[in-house]
Symmetry: C2
């Protein structure tokens, strides 16, 4: 993992400073030497029929043994002659046999597939950049592979109700378990899954009555840390950018913001709570709202790092420089936040580790795997460490 030297990591008691003002490294630039031209496509063939694939019966016939034995050999059952097993495995390989999942699922009642439900609506995609999800997926998969489980992302379209979608997915027995994200404050998916006894874990808390397995980023802690840091710099008017949807993390973040203020002896001012979409445009709007206030806040804490880009832009248009004229603390460290100018003060976490924990938590709730994973006793709040950038240095 590449790390920009201009960030100082502040985690727990450790405080490290890096030298230099450079955000990146110049290593690994290679000159390309592509000379060939791409080949234009010719006419298209038609795809009329799917080839019949080889079934377990074909395999058995080919080996002149029964399908039961083949099945047992393939599934690693103990009561099968090693030599026979070898022959079966060999034949399976040469014939290109892959078990039909529908057949297995129908028989076993499991699909060996886990779904990660992500919503593609703009509003709910609070943490929805793929450079968020991709490493999380990677971590999840690294665990699932050990158990021959496949991960698929379930894409609930904009024009479909998440509840209806979930009902279909669950009813069809499409997956053995679910990871849900973008948890709402009141999220009907949770009682639904609990009632159906579908194993699941939520990426994000909710306010739902009744408990369920979840992991959430430390929105509360980061907000407290950020506000406390700004108060320490002498800031008094600290704005906060929160989502304008009912996604629960907004409530949690705001709670932390208020706790941080209280800790610093500063009175909460509702006018400084600015709700906007958790993206670049939302950040632009937050900056606009700040500019209208008199006196203008001297600092702002954002629930989402993408907001920083739009916020920077609006301030840039006004000749206001973050880190010089105003203090900005973003949320999650991302490639972008490292390469912004000025680099963004924000919080770091290992998305891959988060994915691993999500997977382990899910498996601990599944009958087939619970022996391998200790039951999670309660929700998990994922710690994040402060990464000091250039955007929040000045005291007012």
């Amino acid at each position: 993992m590449w790390e920009g030297p201009s960030h100082r990591i502040v985690g727990g008691v450790n405080l490290t400073f890096a030298s230099g003002a450079s955000a990146g490294t110049c290593a690994n630039v290679r000159l390309a030497n592509f000379t060939e031209k791409y080949m234009p496509a010719r006419g298209l063939v038609n795809f009329f029929s799917r080839e019949k694939s080889v079934s377990i019966r074909d395999l058995a016939r080919h080996l002149n043994i029964s399908i039961g034995t083949v099945s047992r050999a393939l599934n690693g059952k103990s009561d099968v002659n090693p030599e026979t097993r070898e022959r079966v495995l060999q034949a399976a390989k040469t014939l290109g046999y892959v078990p039909n999942q529908s057949g297995r699922s129908l028989r076993q009642g499991t699909t060996n597939t886990i779904g990660f439900m992500i919503e593609s609506t703009v509003e709910t995609a609070e943490i929805g950049d793929s450079f968020f999800f991709m490493p999380v997926f990677g971590g999840v998969q690294s665990v699932f592979r050990r158990h021959q489980l496949d991960l698929v992302a379930l894409l609930c379209g904009t024009d479909e109700d998440p509840g209806v979608y979930l009902n279909r997915v669950v009813g069809r027995r499409f997956v053995d378990g679910l990871i849900i994200s973008a948890t709402m404050r009141e999220d009907p998916r949770i009682p639904f899954l609990l009632e159906r006894k579908i194993p699941f874990v939520a990426l994000g808390r909710s306010a739902a009555d009744g408990s369920f397995p979840w992991i959430d980023l430390d929105f509360e802690g980061t907000a407290i840390t950020a506000v406390t840091r700004l108060v320490g710099f002498g800031h008094k008017r600290i704005a906060v950018g929160v989502p304008n949807s009912d996604v629960n993390l907004g409530h949690v973040f705001l709670s932390g913001y208020r706790q941080g203020l209280a800790k610093g002896g500063i009175e909460f001012n509702p006018d400084l709570v600015l709700a906007a979409p958790s993206n670049e445009e939302g950040g632009y709007q937050v900056a606009c709202a700040m500019l209208e206030q008199k006196p203008m806040p001297t600092a702002v804490v954002l629930v989402n790092e993408n907001m920083a880009i739009g916020l920077y832009r609006r301030f840039y248009e006004m000749g206001i420089h973050p880190g010089r004229d105003i203090a900005v603390i973003g949320f999650r460290e991302s490639t972008q936040s490292r390469f912004l100018s000025p680099t963004l003060t924000c919080f770091r976490l290992s998305l891959r580790d988060l994915g691993i924990k999500l997977a382990e938590t899910l498996l601990s709730t599944m009958p087939a795997f619970e022996n391998n994973y200790p039951a999670v006793k309660s929700g998990i709040i994922w710690p994040m460490e402060l990464v000091v950038g250039e955007s929040d240095r000045p005291a007012p």
Copy 2:
């Protein structure tokens, strides 16, 4: 769709200018009023058993008719008494019946599921930001919904070979069709899918011998347009940032770059071709490489808009301002490129429409749907229109 007024859209013969220097809008900022604190989770219940779901047999028993009739009623067959159908539908609703997909698939040989294969490796995720994929997914789904097809994203992990993964997905009969992305110059997935006669469409050309259905962004045309524009501004030393992987779009983009140079009467200089990862860090590296050259190129064309962020950063560190001291043209217009400072000159496309076309192209190759969709005669190059930002105005 929100549109930043500072961009002038230049598409075909139309040329529109917007006034003002603002990149965004201040509308729709709402003050939040979240007062309640989130509820902490209590202890966890254990999830030991999945509830037995209602089968078609249960439904039949409940209605005192045969399962065959129930099936026909649910599937909209004509030879069923309207009254009976009504009773069945009603009962299905009240009992919460959802057909088991494995049963259907086993019987019908289709899964009613389409897979969109995305690779989570950093290197291959050339166009891998979710604000790319999400709208594409949305478009795809809007078409699939008409045919009761579900879209799932197939996540090929970093530690798994795409070929092995694809083989498993296909062999298991997990999906009826596939959309593959991040097409490599020589992509073994393509002959594999062609040979197995699995319906698919590729997002991205390849150099593969033999034809197949694909849609690709106009990397060639955009490169030509960008270079021609820069040449028109008087630039002579124009660098190009391309991917450092074998993803085919790099070759195509470079081809367009060379064509643009040739058109402008400028000799191709291999030293100006800079290969780097298609992300912020890569852009940083490209800027580094440019800074080392003497004389420094006066303009640069990037194959990926994320590179612009890192490139901006490196130039910022050196006090070099894009749009004033150097000309930058990025690739795809994104929320980020609109909110960068200066805004990025780049190219616009409708990702949703792209998704729609992908879906339609795929369906045209599937026996069950080909009647509804005209066969695509060859690969499709998706047009993009120039969006003039602030990053490329000056002639040197």
